[in-house]
Symmetry: C2
Subunit: 340 residues, 2 copies
């Protein structure tokens, strides 16, 4: 690496800023630079100040500082299809290679054709078969390795980027800001717990034990060489969506969150449960109203309904009535992605 005259100029300007030239220094100390000033950003900062100031009547001890985040549509893009579903469908060719007899069996035969219209016509039964075949039957370490390989290579169809680049920069900043204030940040997702755990630490700074998700049973068995293995079974243990979110939070965390962030009806009960606790609690919802930088969907704003991320008028009404903060992607976020 060579040190150019331009680098030198930048260094000097940076040095000047570091000496304390007003606005520049303020911008650098803002922990949420990708959030526009406004009620949403204010609510976050006010919440953190109140709950971490020992002199405030709403002070929360560090041990109880729990913040829970939905993933799909809240931390990264969920539209037009959940990333984990893409993984499942893209795993089918490798699955058929290992078990050639599946090539002639539905729905695998249709998936292999690559015919998007035919695949879109597949029903819930077919989907369940694809999920069971691609998410279960192997040991947990083999599954982790498969997901790690796929998520390190696969790219989305619109931006042609790794899925892990499609995380929302304002939320990455918010996660860090909360952790800096002593909050433990959890993901509470309808997605697969074992799937999200593979990349959550690297991408969000959230370790495996702080990922609560939909989980199947695993069974303890001995491999041929006698070593113990945990096999993923096609049996649902936690359906971590809707009412399953507070239920999963109780099971894995055992404390009511102080802060919760979602984006759809699947997060409703988690937000209700959070807000029903004593003291100051903050509940937030991302509204996808930015068709240019991301997507616009959700009928609350007269936007089209979709199969993912439902945000119907009732949810909007409940948010208003119960004091949840609705975050407009278009207005509240200065930047959506790190690559913007």
């Amino acid at each position: 690496m060579e040190f150019s005259r331009r680098d030198f100029a930048a260094f000097m300007l940076g040095g000047t800023a570091a000496l304390g030239l007003g606005g520049q220094a303020d911008a650098q100390s803002d922990p949420l630079p990708s959030w526009n000033a406004g009620p949403a950003k204010d609510a976050i900062v006010k919440f953190v100040r109140a709950t971490t100031d020992a002199a405030n009547s709403n002070f929360v001890p560090v041990a109880e500082r729990i913040a829970t985040f939905d993933q799909d549509g809240t931390l990264w893009v969920e539209h037009p299809v959940y990333t984990q579903l893409v993984f499942c469908f893209e795993r089918v060719p490798a699955l058929v290679k290992a078990k050639p007899e599946l090539a002639e069996v539905e729905p695998f035969r249709t998936v292999l054709t690559g015919n998007r219209e035919a695949i879109a016509q597949l029903g819930l039964d077919a989907l369940t078969k694809v999920l069971a075949a691609t998410l279960t039957g192997m040991n947990v370490d083999a599954f982790r390795d498969e997901v790690a390989k796929w998520i390190g290579e696969a790219r989305d169809s619109r931006w042609k980027r790794l899925y892990t680049e499609l995380v929302y920069q304002p939320q990455i900043e918010l996660l860090k800001y909360l952790r800096g204030a002593g909050y433990r940040t959890y993901i509470v997702t309808g997605g697969g717990q074992d799937f999200v755990r593979v990349y959550a630490e690297r991408v969000y700074g959230i370790p495996p034990e702080q990922v609560v998700g939909t989980a199947g049973a695993v069974s303890y068995q001995y491999a041929a060489d006698g070593r113990p293995v945990l096999i993923k079974e096609p049996k649902l243990l936690i359906n971590d969506d809707n009412a399953g979110k507070p239920e999963g939070i109780h099971l894995v965390i055992g404390r009511r969150p102080q802060f919760a962030f979602g984006n759809s009806t699947g997060d409703r009960q988690m937000l209700e449960y959070t807000k029903a606790g004593q003291g100051v609690r903050l509940a937030m919802l991302v509204l996808h109203d930015d068709g240019e930088r991301e997507y616009a969907y959700g009928p609350a704003q007269g936007l089209p309904d979709t199969k993912v991320g439902r945000f119907p008028p009732e949810l909007y009404d409940e948010a208003t009535k119960d004091g949840w903060i609705v975050v407009s992607m278009k207005n509240d976020w200065k930047r959506v992605f790190a690559f913007d």
Copy 2:
């Protein structure tokens, strides 16, 4: 409070020790003073040094430092009957007061008689009914309050002490020693997760989210006033014993422990799973061979078999073969309880 001459003398002597008089200072710096010198204590210290020394080939990053402990018979007394069972039986009078019709229904009628011999004759079906009636049907906050009240008052029949005083002092020191070395300490118990969480932080320094135990389903509902509540359902979700221990560890923690401590066949799979990981792993078992200070049971040492804490010859053989450290309560522990 008055400051007596005796207090003054103690203060002065303490002051002298603090000035650094040889042996006294060494004893104070031993993190495991209730452990006798010997192979068990050596194995612990060696394990911690190897896994926390960045220059050692067996170094383990802080994020992966997980230590799991069984509770009954490993952290506190389990003989002659599990404390949680005592709770369930002692809850029956209050239960019948709330639902008087139960007074004439078995097994509640027999339990109410207080006739120990008749109660001991009750079968598994009866036991299941008592457990379901005393552990489910209420909201999780009400249950927590009931357990907190009981555990703060109830006393055992031999020592006449609070059950929370019947924790093993060497293990309290070990938990602190491991945490001081960057390990996160978890309880992984066949006992009820919601039960143990009530006192684990106060007694063991282990927060609710680090208690993995047998868990029933909870269901998200709305109380009469509209507030959301989680109701404990009579439906088993995690049977956290035997193979259920590594399965529960995967579900809640998502990482293989570096260190595991148990005392019976119920811990076998957790210890196998721990030892099967790469690098240095430590698996330990408490052998209850101290009839004077605690209890002597377990056929491995020609001691009588019991219904709790089974430690049969096969387990002893596996421990020997797989390099688990068997801890003799009689020989390895200088002190059993803090009140000794």
